[in-house]
């Protein structure tokens, strides 16, 4: 073959192949970057980090569920009940830090139809070292459409994994998009299972209670920007819920000498959140029926889907709310409870 023909053909066929691939990715769009699913397809489970911004930007919704693994077992249909709204989107980010949530929340709030945001304020968001957190959503997904899209359009994982799975999942028998990112049925929930998962990391010797000045800074790094967003969108109602971790979680907190710090940090940050009129702060941590019953858990913090439904009902009905008047007493009562609790009962 003539070298010029070789070059021309090689480059032409390479470009044609890449354009075709890009067109397929744009049409199917498994991360919803360009549009909500076409061809009657549903937004099924792909990758939380890659699809979060796309879901926030392009789906049709008035209620957004944003949160960690504590949110994953929510069935988004529950929130399409007319009380919250008519359309809901679930954007779960397992183990995410606030730097991951922030761009998602910004997209959700920019979305024209957003009325409600349901957000899980995990304890680790308040206590993690803010300097140690690494953000896990790639910049090119956060930014608008531009040159960074090559990472999505020409991506082997997208072409050979997410895209085919997206299509196949949609057409599989028994498919139900309400189960996207729901893992509840994949695990055993029992005292035994929860203990087993926790025991390997349980401290053997109780540490002294620590000073917590730096914890306040770390907590502020989450709540201050969050409150900034909340104040920027006064017409949006923020259901901020504190998930019900089991007593094994509190055992860990107490053994690490963090009980006082944790409650003090919560007191300070909740006070700030309660200053916002559009915040409903739902506190599930002190529901003793839930947190002392290890049969609800698969490890020290993750609960089964029934608990998600109970939280949905509570948020819908306005129970478990903290107010400016009672939040301090409730936290104090919680502090007394976790300080006096017989943790050994969890292990017998």
């Amino acid at each position: 073959m003539d070298p010029k023909t070789f070059i021309r053909k090689t480059i032409t066929y390479t470009l044609i192949s890449l354009v075709l691939i890009a067109l397929i990715v744009i049409a199917v769009d498994p991360f919803m970057r360009y549009h909500a699913p076409w061809f009657g397809l549903a937004a099924v489970e792909t990758d939380e980090r890659c699809s979060a911004i796309g879901l926030a930007r392009n789906m049709d919704y008035d209620t957004a569920l944003v949160g960690s693994s504590m949110s994953e077992n929510f069935n988004y249909k529950w929130f399409e009940d007319g009380v919250f709204g008519d359309k809901c989107v679930k954007i779960a980010l397992q183990g995410a830090h606030y730097c991951d949530y922030e761009p998602v929340l910004k997209e959700v709030l920019k979305h024209p139809g957003t009325k409600n945001v349901v957000f899980s304020l995990d304890n680790y968001l308040l206590t993690d070292d803010k300097n140690a957190n690494t953000c896990s959503i790639e910049d090119y997904y956060i930014s608008g459409i531009g040159p960074g899209d090559v990472h999505y359009l020409f991506n082997r994982s997208v072409i050979f994994d997410y895209l085919p799975k997206f299509l196949i999942t949609n057409v599989r028998e028994g498919f139900n998009d309400e189960n996207a990112y729901v893992w509840s049925d994949d695990y055993e929930y029992s005292k035994y299972a929860a203990r087993l998962a926790y025991m390997s990391s349980r401290l053997l010797i109780r540490q002294d209670e620590k000073v917590y000045d730096e914890y306040f800074d770390d907590a502020d790094a989450t709540t201050d920007p969050l409150i900034g967003l909340i104040n920027e969108y006064p017409d949006v109602t923020f259901y901020i819920y504190i998930p019900p971790y089991s007593m094994l979680f509190w055992d860990d907190i107490v053994l690490r000498g963090n009980a006082t710090a944790t409650i003090c940090v919560q007191e300070r940050e909740f006070k700030k959140l309660l200053e916002c009129d559009n915040v409903r702060l739902c506190y599930f941590q002190d529901d003793k029926d839930v947190i002392t019953d290890l049969a609800n858990y698969r490890d020290y913090s993750h609960y089964k889907q029934d608990i998600n439904y109970y939280m949905y009902e509570a948020m819908r009905d306005g129970t478990h709310l903290l107010t400016k008047d009672d939040y301090y007493d409730k936290l104090l009562a919680m502090y007394d409870f976790i300080s006096a609790y017989d943790y050994e009962s969890c292990f017998h």
Binding site: D2, P3, L18, F154, R156, K165
Partner: protein, 490 residues
């Protein structure tokens, strides 16, 4: 910037090649060279902006010494003094940025000092461009009648295909090419061949090396969990990873040069086909071996000063080769192991039994594999622990985490389709995949044509075009989330 990036493949490479050839059409030499120099500095700055100043100072300082060395007014003694000055400056630069932390650590442990740990940033490609410049000064001293223009010299040192990871080309080989009028005309044959070799190099890096990296990273982070079988897989994976990583880069560098009408020296000639450790070094990182032979081994006396001095010289070369690769005892031990290997080869060459070549090749491959364990380990203790696991003959099954560490997307999808298991890699098929992947990679490294062989026998036909298109497309799809090159750290 790196070769295996969207910006390089889609923008930098096509723009540089096209504009360079368009400029050359004017018939003037300087604009083309200035364009290549500007492109090279941009390429370097996009990879390591803060190191650009160090590179620039280094180029200017070395060029000034070159002017002195090639000046008619410089006598032999002054010439020698300038050469020593150049060596001191270059080695000081290397020591400050690369070895200061290592040496202060040694001083702390030997003399029980409490020196603050020093960790300056490591400028991109410093080991490569320092050696290139040392060679340049040595050649200038030896041959003072050859004086180069500053543009030529700056382009030679900063030339983007080789600045990051070599090969360690010599000024005498490269600069005449920059000025060769015959090379200024765009040659479709060379560009076509460049495309073929570039696609193969890119595929080596992103399809083979980066997948193997997953096994290696897991293995060296979980040495205590390995047992013999897992250790064997991880050890082989690293042996193959480093080859595909480095030789893939060199193939791409050679291909880019071809597209620009230039030739880079070969750096790899299928090293895992070697039948002895000495032969391995004739095939692995050839330009580094050539550098040490020409500028260290021979000046030390080579093999001309008796047997003992020959072995001492060999060990000095490999000790420094190890140290060049990294500021750690693991690299030094790796170098000394190879020094011992080469010495034993020399010893047995005349007196030893003649083994069939396949047996020698297998023995050499095993030797090289074990040496790589020291090279890859974070500490000597890790290396020893790794080898203990390898030779423990604990036949632990293939670890599920090792399988999950790097199963290619296509195969994960296949498993998902067949076994309908969501996000879980079924164990048996996972074992088959990992073993098959390593064996196929080993087969490719040993039996497939290397870049030089491929160039010599390449026919531009529909088959080679189709292969190039497929490799380019699949590799481009794999550019997202690739690992960095191993040798950029040296």
């Amino acid at each position: 910037m790196i070769f295996n990036s969207y910006s390089f493949v889609f923008i930098f490479l096509p723009v540089t090649v096209t504009v360079y050839h368009l400029i050359n059409r004017t018939g003037r030499e300087l604009p083309g060279k200035l364009f290549l120099l500007a492109s090279s500095l941009l390429f370097y700055a996009l990879g390591d902006l803060k190191a650009l100043a160090i590179l620039t100072v280094s180029i200017v300082a070395n060029y000034l010494i070159h002017l002195k060395l090639t000046s008619e007014n410089t006598g032999p003694r002054a010439g020698k003094a300038f050469l020593i000055l150049g060596l001191v400056l270059n080695l000081s630069n290397l020591i400050v940025f690369k070895y200061l932390g290592f040496f202060s650590g040694i001083l702390n442990s030997v003399f029980r000092l409490k020196l603050e740990p020093v960790s300056l940033f490591l400028p991109l490609g410093i080991s490569f461009y320092t050696f290139s410049q040392i060679a340049f000064l040595a050649d200038s001293h030896k041959n003072p009648s050859v004086r180069y223009e500053f543009t030529d010299y700056a382009l030679f040192v900063s030339f983007f295909p080789k600045i990051m990871m070599g090969p360690i080309a010599l000024a005498g080989d490269m600069i005449p090419q920059f000025n060769d009028k015959l090379r200024k005309k765009a040659d479709p044959d060379k560009i076509a061949r460049g495309l073929v070799i570039f696609s193969a190099g890119l595929a080596k890096k992103v399809l083979l090396a980066d997948n193997l990296a997953g096994y290696v990273t897991w293995g060296y982070s979980n040495i205590d969990k390995l047992g013999s079988i897992n250790a064997l897989i991880v050890m082989l994976s690293y042996t193959l990873q480093i080859y595909f990583d480095f030789s893939g880069f060199c193939d791409m560098a050679k291909a880019v040069c071809l597209m620009l009408g230039l030739d880079l020296p070969d750096n790899f000639l299928s090293p895992y086909r070697s039948a002895s450790v000495a032969e391995f070094w004739d095939r692995w990182h050839i330009t580094l071996t050539a550098f040490f032979t020409r500028y260290l081994y021979i000046p030390l006396g080579g093999s001309r000063k008796g047997k003992v001095r020959t072995y001492v010289n060999t060990f000095i070369v490999f000790f420094l080769s190890g140290l060049w690769h990294g500021a750690d005892f693991t690299f030094i031990i790796w170098g000394l192991i190879h020094g011992a290997g080469v010495s034993v080869c020399r010893l047995l060459k005349d007196k030893g039994p003649k083994l069939p070549r396949p047996v020698s090749c297998a023995g050499t491959f095993l030797f090289v594999n074990i040496a790589w364990v020291f090279f890859r380990s974070e500490t000597l203790t890790d290396a020893v622990n790794f080898l203990k696991q390898l030779f423990s003959f604990k036949l632990l099954p293939v670890n599920i985490e090792l399988i999950a560490a790097a199963t290619p997307d296509e195969l994960q999808l296949l498993q998902w389709l067949i076994l309908t298991q969501r996000d879980k890699v079924p164990y048996v098929s996972g074992c088959i995949i990992i073993i098959a992947f390593v064996l196929i990679a080993a087969f490719i490294s040993i039996y497939c044509k290397n870049a030089a062989e491929r160039l010599a026998s390449l026919k531009l036909n529909a088959r080679s075009a189709a292969t190039t298109v497929i490799l380019l497309v699949v590799s481009i799809l794999s550019l997202s989330g690739v690992t960095e090159y191993i040798y950029t750290n040296f």
